[in-house]
């Protein structure tokens, strides 16, 4: 069971990581990156590292994601 979950999580990580680098639209890439960060937080939990999980969710996915989204928004606004 846990092995299966790990494998699934691993695949999800690789997929989201790969897609966020290759997807066409920038906003989707950023959203995928945030998803990737959240999956990372899960992986940390699976690795018995809840501290990192918390930090990853808050900083890695949360803050970085917010920064990226904000940057994206600003760039789009200026282009417009």
């Amino acid at each position: 069971m846990s092995i299966a979950f790990d494998l699934l999580l691993a695949l999800a990580l690789l997929w989201s990581g790969g897609r966020c680098l290759s997807v066409d639209r920038l906003d989707r890439a950023i959203v995928l990156f945030i998803a990737f960060g959240l999956l990372m937080a899960l992986a940390w939990a699976r690795l018995a590292a809840p501290d990192i999980g918390l930090a990853e969710a808050a900083i890695g996915a949360g803050l970085t994601g917010a920064l990226l989204l904000d940057a994206y928004g600003a760039l789009k606004r200026r282009k417009a």
């Binding site: 590292a49 809840p50 501290d51 999980g53 918390l54 930090a55 808050a58 900083i59 949360g62 803050l63 917010a66 920064l67 904000d70 940057a71 600003a74 606004r77």
Partner: protein, 218 residues
């Protein structure tokens, strides 16, 4: 062509690395035991916090310096005058944020306190504080930052300076960050309290400074 070669190279590298990862390894040192044995004199009960603020506290000290430095660089890169456009604000959200903000602070304090014996600590607490600030900003309750005032600069730096002062003060004990076991818990809590505030401000600052709308060209 370049893409193909690079991709292939990366794949080969990953394969090589995974192959090597799967080989048996002669681990000679295991720090788990060392951490467990020294927990008693570390001043905290949570091993990760003990490593972070005591055993390898020096790393953390420099890491805070990196964070502060990043903030300064962001300030240094662009001194644009902002034209902070009013965002479309949902009044319900605003009310919600007003209620949430004090709650978030309580959560942060809890996380800070919890860090001593379970997952949590200054970083998470600081991140939560920063999240609150971002939330307030997004709901239009907190303007984005311009060049910070001196008070704010004190706030941003205080956590780092407290940490540095404690670290250097402990030189009297024979080494940098050499906590006497009896006072270790208190000193670490002091550092963490300082860090929580400064980290919250810095992390929020990363966002609030970046979200300045740069003018056309300074």
């Amino acid at each position: 062509m370049k893409r193909f070669v690079m991709g292939l190279g990366a794949l080969a590298f990953a394969a090589l690395l995974i192959g090597a990862l799967l080989e048996p390894l002669p681990v000679s040192v295991d720090l788990r035991a060392a951490v467990t044995n020294n927990m008693a004199s570390s001043g905290v009960e949570h091993p990760v916090t003990a490593v972070l603020l005591n055993f390898r506290g020096y790393d953390t000290l420099l890491e805070i310096a990196v964070l502060l430095l990043a903030l300064i660089v962001i300030l240094a890169v662009g001194i644009d005058t902002a034209s902070d456009q009013p965002r479309t604000v949902n009044p319900i959200l605003q009310t919600l944020a007003r209620v949430a903000a004090p709650l978030v602070i309580v959560v942060a304090v809890y996380l800070l306190w919890a860090g001593a014996f379970r997952p949590g600590g200054a970083f998470q607490a600081g991140a939560v504080l920063a999240a609150a600030a971002v939330l307030l900003h997004l709901t239009g309750l907190l303007p984005s930052w311009q060049v910070p005032t001196r008070t704010l600069r004190w706030g941003l730096t205080a956590g780092f300076l407290i940490f540095l002062a404690v670290a250097a003060g402990l030189l009297s004990q024979g080494a940098l960050l050499h906590y006497p076991p009896a006072q270790a818990g208190m000193l670490i809590l002091l550092i963490e309290a300082g860090l929580t505030i400064s980290l919250g401000l810095i992390l929020a600052g990363l966002f609030l400074l970046l979200s300045r709308e740069p003018g056309d060209d300074a």
